[in-house]
């Protein structure tokens, strides 16, 4: 008969309680948000007089995760940028020319003189005056190739050298183009992230989308053009001679010198010459690599002018340190081991592989690697978002109350059970949203309202079924049991089909649509749970206590 094992009851109630606890912070949104901000500030050492009070405003033993509010509710800016990855091919080819020229000049006896030819930006074309030696020349140039540094392109070489009569054409190989695109977008992403982090806004979303696009969403910022300005500013990378070290920022530096803090060593300052030897504008590439002892290192390459300046400086200053400075912070200050000619060098230090990768990214992060085109821009004012939240909240409450009354009028006592389940249901949705850190958007609110309307469906199915079973004159307990049993396949089929559409929406949609898909999908899960477990436990508990001879549904 109507029985539910104790452990199942405990599990069901426990799920509800955990869900509601997770949802609770959202009921005190401003307070919890202030608490979270204060905790975050304290973690990085920013303490003001009311930090303690703000932290105390929300007990730390309670969950403090909140549902993120989407841009349409909080206001802010949204940009979709496309990275022009081809820019990088052209830059690579341009910087390769001096290398090729110097190499073939050394072999003038066999290949004769060389002359560059006009052609597309992404390839290098030149003629040699002794066409009969074209194959030798080509194989010499091939000698300049490097292996592609990516997992998929491993083993391939980075350039393709073709011959066409007396003309040699050099271009990047497909594998290298792919690897280059990958790096370019990653680098652009890293730079954008750094720039936005410096401004210190809350929870920016910076995501790669597709092969060459970056999605940037920053809540609370005034406008999309403001955001574009932040992204557009170039970080300044310089290489400066080090004069000495200091332990406090006010150390006297001397004329023409300045004191800069170290990026990762606390309390360490460097006194460096203010005039840089080379700047990051002259850097063409930086890659994580390994030194001769197989320790993680970073290799880098300058353009020809940078290479000359850097070569001269290192030749004269072997044994003394120089500082790599990014935005007035010293990334590292290695000691020059040898004269670095040819414009490429290697930075060694006590790096882990991860650190060397990061440093390479930071070095490249001086300027954006390629131009960005903005395909989509949206600015939503905070007032509009506030209005939408307000309207959404009122609509939710009215919908909620309306459905509660309607259910009570239609099903009496059983309606009350369904209503309790509905309240738990909405709580669970918010609990799950907070747990997975999902973003609530305006269509997302609509999804919740829709769920409120549809959540009762499963209960309606069961109740209607119980009514039918009662007609065939079985006892109430049997009718309730049959009602649940027979309604189950309809409930599951109906909800699975809706869930399928929610999943597709989530997979294909973007932005607000995705927000809608999330609340709809979670709503289906929680409403099935509450309808087939929670109301059932409620009804069974009621039934056990009252033992009614007849029931009216």
């Amino acid at each position: 008969m109507l029985q539910i094992d104790l452990w199942k009851r405990v599990l069901i109630w426990l799920t509800c309680v955990v869900g509601l606890l997770l949802a609770m912070p959202n009921a005190f949104y401003p307070r919890v948000e202030a608490h979270n901000d204060a905790v975050a500030d304290q973690a990085v050492g920013i303490v003001s007089e009311n930090t303690e009070a703000l932290i105390a405003g929300w007990p730390s033993f309670l969950p403090s995760r909140l549902v993120n509010l989407g841009l349409d509710l909080r206001g802010g800016a949204h940009l979709l940028a496309e990275v022009k990855v081809e820019d990088v091919y052209a830059a690579r080819m341009t910087s390769m020319w001096p290398e090729v020229r110097d190499l073939l000049r050394g072999e003038r006896a066999t290949v004769g003189t060389i002359r560059q030819q006009p052609g597309p930006d992404t390839e290098l074309r030149f003629k040699i005056s002794k066409p009969e030696a074209i194959q030798e020349a080509a194989s010499l140039v091939r000698g300049l190739s490097r292996p592609v540094t990516s997992i998929t392109g491993a083993g391939a070489s980075d350039i393709v050298v073709l011959t066409e009569g007396d003309t040699i054409i050099v271009e990047l190989s497909d594998a290298e183009k792919l690897a280059s695109d990958q790096r370019t977008v990653q680098q652009a992403l890293e730079i954008i992230r750094r720039r936005i982090d410096e401004v210190g806004t809350r929870e920016p979303t910076i995501q790669r989308q597709g092969a060459d696009r970056i999605l940037i969403q920053v809540p609370g910022i005034g406008s999309a053009s403001e955001l574009k300005q932040i992204i557009g500013t170039t970080a300044q990378l310089t290489f400066n001679p080090v004069v000495g070290r200091a332990s406090d920022p006010d150390a006297s530096a001397g004329v023409g010198n300045k004191v800069l803090p170290s990026l990762d060593e606390e309390g360490v300052y460097y006194i460096v010459e203010a005039a840089p030897v080379v700047t990051g504008e002259e850097l063409v590439d930086a890659q994580p690599s390994f030194d001769q002892n197989n320790r993680p290192a970073v290799s880098f390459r300058f353009n020809p002018t940078g290479a000359r300046k850097f070569g001269d400086y290192t030749a004269e200053n072997i044994g003394s340190p120089f500082a790599i400075v990014l935005d007035d912070e010293v990334i590292s200050a290695p000691v020059i081991q040898a004269h670095i000619a040819g414009g490429s060098g290697i930075i060694t230090g006590r790096f882990s592989v991860e650190e060397s990768t990061n440093l390479a990214v930071l070095l490249r992060a001086g300027a954006l690697p390629a131009e960005l085109t903005f395909l989509e821009e949206r600015t939503i004012g905070p007032e509009l978002g506030q209005d939408s939240i307000e309207a959404g909240r009122i609509a939710c409450i009215v919908a909620f109350v309306g459905v509660l009354i309607f259910m009570f009028l239609s099903y009496g006592t059983f309606g009350v059970f369904a209503n309790i389940a509905l309240i738990i249901n909405v709580g669970l949705i918010f609990g799950l949203l907070s747990l997975i850190g999902a973003t609530l958007t305006l269509p997302g609110i609509a999804g919740i309202v829709l769920t409120i309307g549809m959540a009762v469906d499963a209960n309606v199915l069961v109740f209607e079924r119980i009514r039918e079973e009662l007609k065939s004159a079985k006892g109430p307990a049997r009718a309730i049991e049959l009602g649940y049993e027979k309604a189950l396949s309809a409930i599951l089929d109906a909800n699975i089909t809706t869930f399928i559409t929610a999943v597709i929406l989530f997979a294909v949609g973007s932005g607000p649509v995705r927000g809608f898909a999330i609340t709809l999908g979670l709503g289906i899960l929680t409403s099935v749970f509450t309808a087939i477990f929670v109301t059932r436990v409620l009804i069974v508990m009621w039934f056990e206590r009252r033992r009614p001879k007849t029931i009216e549904v």
């Binding site: 053009s225 989509e376 829709l450 089929d493 809706t498 929406l505």
Partner: protein, 322 residues
Amino acid sequence: MRLRLVPQETKWDFFARPTLWLGISGALMVAALVSFFIQGLNFGIDFRGGTTIRTESAQEVVIADYRAAMEPLELGDISITEVFDVTFEEDQHVTMIRIQAQEGEEAVTADMIKKVEVQLQTVAPDITFVSVESVGPKVSGELINTAVIAVLLAIGAVLVYIWLRFEWQFAVGAVMALIHDVVLTIGVFSELQIKFDLAIIAALLTIVGYSLNDTVVVFDRVRENLRKYKKMELKEVLNLSINETLSRTVMTSATTLLALISLFVLGGDVIRGFVFAMIWGVIVGTYSSVFIASAALLKFGVKRDWSKQANTAGNKFADIDA
């Protein structure tokens, strides 16, 4: 005393006048398609590129003045509409300005927005831009594609699911009902020229989900009754099943509509189009699950021999208990 939207026991014949219902649905669908091809949809910037600006001002809006102020900027096709809503304050006057995608530019420049603002300030000095959204032609083209793919994928996935759980006739019936709902919704949007943007696609997919929900509940009962009354005529079985589930169908539609209508009235103008699509979808979806899906099932006929899988297919989930 209970509130009852449907009498306790109904014996309505839903297939008494099949031609009438089919005729009405057919005529409506033709009208929807005609409207779609002649008028076309009022695509938002998500789908055709361009810029929309939402302005707010304490002064009365005279659209002609706004238009005149923007004339010198030569921005091509501009549409300006005033927005009204119950949630607005007394002196809150809101307009939506839509500017076509500009030649040779992916998205608007900050420059142009500034110019528009300066021009409009000559008419309404306190005007503010509460939101500015701009989508380039490249992205809008892709958004259309993904939207169409999403709708087709959803319909396809559902077709497969129902086919697996029921029989192919059920799947075809359900999908016919879905196409009916989607076509009629698009028809309403083109006829009333309501802005059709990304959110509406979400609404369309929800309609797909909701309509199915209804259809599946009816089909589930049909399957059960086909097993129970092996000798009964298919038409009778369908009628019986629809009548038995009618009370639930109406109850669920009523609660959903109750929630949606409150959102429509109180939820603000930003999502009104979206909510409108869903309200329409719930009504059409409820109708179609009875008159289209079941009618299709009647037309195709169903394999009646369920004896072999009687205890497996239908009750696959029934052994899950609380």
